[in-house]
Symmetry: C2
Subunit: 629 residues, 2 copies
């Protein structure tokens, strides 16, 4: 079939594709971010693009006439979801339709490992074939590898063999062999290329992908790249995406194509920056939560969303790149880290590895905060994990003025305990647009500290100009209308506080029950690791005040960042780490909170701010006392 | 891209294909035989087809106007190579354009083996997932396989995993698992399907393919199918086909597609006959000479045709069916038997296995006669193999009235030693069209026995009406014009005799030198195995008289038929046989005749009929004496 080429501006990126697809699909499959909230159903009108020469596209639809103004239509505006490409064309993505790059936590704690990648290169000069030495090419190569490097039992494969005769003769019988795990041929290169050996580690997050390009000759991360997860256009959270896969036969394949397209883009970008090509990437390692893991592998994810939430698989997997359409050599191995359970995925295993939480005798708590929050409690002897449905409030969802952690988001809040004057900081110091997760967390903590709300999270009868009424309900003004971009005030509502109570309550419940099942009190804890992008930006004192974290000394809290990706990277450079990951995934005991007998009661108690039994939070008692003095 | 459908008559077979290909290519890729001698270059005019409705095809070319008569063009005749399909259409292949089914030797000797296929089925009923037992689907399955069948260390693979959750739930947690070699998942079927387990063995011959559909539950061959090798249209012999691969970048891929298409057709045909589907074929085994082996695997075959004739690989290979586009489940294993050298291929290893020539202490000679003739000499202690360039004379090529062993070929000849009257037999008892290999061999043997030619192969001065002159050269009339289809006499010429001398001389040279290097005299031989389709039809006495075989008692000669395919079948049903094949391919010493110091002299001596030193052929001396008495 004839292919067509779509050029996306302003990047100038060219995408070759089949005709008769809509431009949103084409962009998503190529990993190019265009906003869409309705998932391509021509409802939200967010996927606006500009096409100057509209001859090679389908005609305007009624939905477009409704969602675009006459002026816009005159200027060439279209909706990407409603525009079918028929031939070569140029598409401009205006600023408002771009998925804004969020502040992303893309680095994390990383334990030192002994450099021992599974993929290695071996350079050999073969004796030429003669009538006196008629060994076949493959056996000649294997013999040289055995005599020079003591490699035996290498499995031959047909794809590598197909060009072997030409490659070994190309540079006068001098070749470099890429071997995986001492037994599989990954690639064959003419001449001596042994000084170039790269790997690529990927964290597939629900909302973002992060890639590390790692030089496997020295273990160094040479480039870090990241991009929004394009699957967002098929659902913000993983449950919506699982539902999406059930709506159409090809939807799972589509989610898979999107994430693979993004990984291919990330690899290309990272390689371009370093001055190599993707042919120099000889292994990939992948982490992600269980749903992302299943989407990436094209594995039916349906049952992860139904009780008893059984995933298809949790073992580590080695998959050939060609089976996944990754743009590297076909025999390159893709190592997918193991999962623990339906809601404790390979990303959590990455956290555990990179933080070392399971290796030390020190009793630790690890919390990876996200829409689902994973909790690990234990030490090298025994470790228990659970998953808490903490929801998307920390990502700004379900909060009246909530937003993601992008430019203009209020991220820090202080309230004067005397006059309730508010000081705040925004991302990039731009005028405020809304409040992101760390801001709302600060806000709620400050409201309780200053007595504006009580332990149940209700507004008290305090009187202040910042306490306003909207539709008969109290709200607390964080920023006045003259300070904000929209000209309207930004507030924290009673409902917002309720959302935060639900979120922090879920986390507290998970931590409390898991600690109890492991037999720990908070005094036993030597270290509390906070992982994940959100965790990195929160104020630990605020987190303690609202009761999201136990009341432990701040010096015991360690913010470890994106340990999912550093765990993946450690697996790329170290065979031993992979063995640890596998052992861990089997050893970690998964606790299903929903069936724990204490769950209901603990959850109710955890809804209090900080907690029903205040004695658990002496630091908070002290703060409140100080205020009342 | 839109697909089109071509219906080939009279079979009614429908082929779905891309438009804008010529009909010869479409037929070849689908394994449908249409004659072509020029390889699709619009020179030979043999690929005649009839298309009644010519609207969906390209216009008549100049070549077609030249090669077809006006009447034919009126009747809808076209040349398949010159007709481009644009839409759905019906193509009739007239009788004259069909590749005639040759008499094929498709069965062979087969040693009994212990039934132990590498692919096995295991039926399990899994405990259902509950909140108390939240093991992932894959681990649940592995646990059950371990506890019920003690299978451990099974490698999970992403393709099988992708549908695992649905399959295990489809029939209430009851599944049948297909496992290869105790470690790889081949397929997963819902319910209990353990009573259906088939394999398919294939011999890819230069001129024909033979397939055995084998029931792996009892080791029985349930169906034998065969077809001409469609690659014939790209060259009759393997050297021409290797040259063909060098003429165009995609030609190797094309040869691969042709043979894969034929195997897919054979599998479908065999399964239809037995009442199963190709999904029930869980493993394939493949033999073929080294060139066919390389073509099938898409491996660069170029260097097999240049000194020192190094193949790319000789080890046994296990390839996934999906990598070869075979129409079975993607993870089905394809076991390709090992080769010995560039001209002693996997088919010869099949011969050695099925005849047992390398297992017994008895000293044996095995000859697989073809365009290249493989010779094995030895016993269980040590075995030497060589390949002789015996050429295509035995297939009727380079012989004035030579033809393949199809209907109307003279296959047996007797000449009365008194009046030189000739009696002959033809295939299917039809009036003679020409002489096939076994006929020409009989003819030359009878000519020497009756003294019409001398030991140098020259016509003597005998006077008889059957000795005629053509262009000043003597020919011997086998059939008079009034007996033949064409109305012209069928003769054996001086040049024909020369061709047979070259062919049989090559074989004799190979046998003699290999026997010498192994330290055997003909008296040492306990058994002589004659393998291959041609060998099956020759008269052993004629073969001795012309000196193709050593002068050994006829009762020691065993015609074993197509042992290449039976060797492949034994590998399908027996793990031990595969190990033997591998050991053999390493153990057999390959003798490169071309560099043997005795080669030139031996070859000259072997051109005599039966041999320069007549004392080696006492039986022939006796016959000639009898004649002269």
């Amino acid at each position: 079939m004839k292919k067509i080429t779509i050029q996306f501006e302003p990047e100038g990126r060219k995408v070759e594709t089949n005709p008769d697809l809509n431009i949103l699909e084409i962009a998503q499959d190529a990993g190019i971010g265009i906003r869409s909230e309705c998932g391509g159903k021509a409802i939200c009108g967010k996927c606006r693009i500009i096409i100057q020469d509209q001859r090679p596209v389908s005609k305007l639809t009624d939905a477009e006439r409704r969602l675009l103004s006459e002026d816009e239509i005159f200027e060439g505006y279209r909706l990407a979801c409603s525009t079918i490409a028929k031939g070569d064309l140029v598409v401009e993505i205006p600023e408002e339709s771009r998925i804004r790059i969020r502040r992303m936590q893309i680095t994390g704690m990383e334990l030192p490992v002994k450099l021992d990648p599974l993929v290695k290169k071996f350079h050999v000069v073969l004796p030429k074939a003669t009538l006196q030495d008629i060994r076949p090419d493959a056996e000649r190569l294997l013999d040289s590898l055995e005599s020079e490097y003591r490699i035996t039992g290498l499995e031959l494969n047909q794809k590598i063999l197909s060009n072997l005769p030409d490659i070994i003769r190309e540079k006068n019988w001098e070749v470099t062999v890429v071997v995986w795990n001492g037994k599989n041929l990954v690639a064959l290169e003419s001449g001596d290329t042994s000084n170039i050996l790269y790997g690529f580690a990927v964290d597939i997050g629900t909302s973002k992908l992060v890639g590390y390009l790692v030089n496997l000759r020295n273990g160094e991360t040479e480039e870090i790249v990241s991009v929004e997860n394009p699957q967002i256009s098929c659902g913000e959270d993983l449950m919506t995406r699982i539902s999406y896969t059930l709506e159409g036969e090809n939807n799972l394949k589509r989610l898979q194509r999107m994430v693979v397209g993004s990984i291919n883009s990330l690899m290309k970008q990272a390689c371009d920056n370093v001055g190599i090509t993707t042919k120099n990437i000889y292994e990939l390692t992948i982490v992600g939560n269980t749903a992302m893991h299943h989407f990436f592998l094209g594995i039916q994810p349906k049952y992860v969303s139904y009780s008893p939430y059984a995933p298809a698989v949790k073992s580590p997997l080695n998959v050939r790149a060609s089976n996944l359409n990754l743009a590297v050599e076909p025999e390159v191995n893709v190592y997918v880290l193991p999962c623990v359970a339906g809601f404790v995925g390979a990303d959590a295993v990455g956290d555990a590895i990179a933080s070392g939480v399971c290796e030390s005798e020190e009793r630790s708590l690890l919390i990876d905060i996200g829409t689902n929050t994973e909790v690990f409690v234990g030490n090298s002897e025994d470790i228990i994990a659970c998953s808490c449905a903490s929801g998307p409030a920390f990502e700004g969802a379900h909060i009246k003025y909530g937003m993601k952690a992008v430019t203009g988001a209020i991220e820090k809040i202080k309230i004067n305990s005397g006059n309730l004057e508010v000081s705040y900081e925004t991302i990039d110091d731009e005028p405020p647009v809304g409040i992101c997760g760390s801001g709302i967390l600060d806000g709620v903590a400050e409201l309780i500290r200053t007595g504006v709300i009580n332990i149940r999270g209700r507004f008290t009868n305090m009187d202040n100009e910042r306490l306003i009424q909207q539709n008969g309900k109290k709200e607390f003004v964080i920023a006045w209308g003259n300070e904000t971009v929209t000209g309207k005030e930004i507030t924290i509502t009673q409902a917002d506080i309720g959302e935060i109570q639900l979120s922090k309550g879920a986390i507290h419940t998970g931590v409390a029950i898991t600690m109890r099942r492991r037999g720990y009190t908070k005094e036993d804890l030597g270290r509390v690791y906070i992982a994940g992008a959100f965790g990195y930006h929160i104020d630990p004192m605020s987190a303690k005040i609202i009761g999201m974290l136990p009341d432990i000394p701040t010096e015991k809290i360690k913010f470890v960042g994106n340990t999912a990706i550093t765990g993946a990277k450690m697996c790329l450079t170290s065979r031993e780490t992979r063995e640890k990951a596998h052992t861990l995934s089997k050893k970690i005991r998964y606790l299903e909170l929903a069936v724990d007998p204490d769950f209901q009661k603990e959850f109710v108690n955890s809804m209090y701010i900080p907690y029903k039994n205040m004695e658990e939070y002496p630091t908070v008692i002290k703060l409140l006392k100080k205020k009342s003095e």
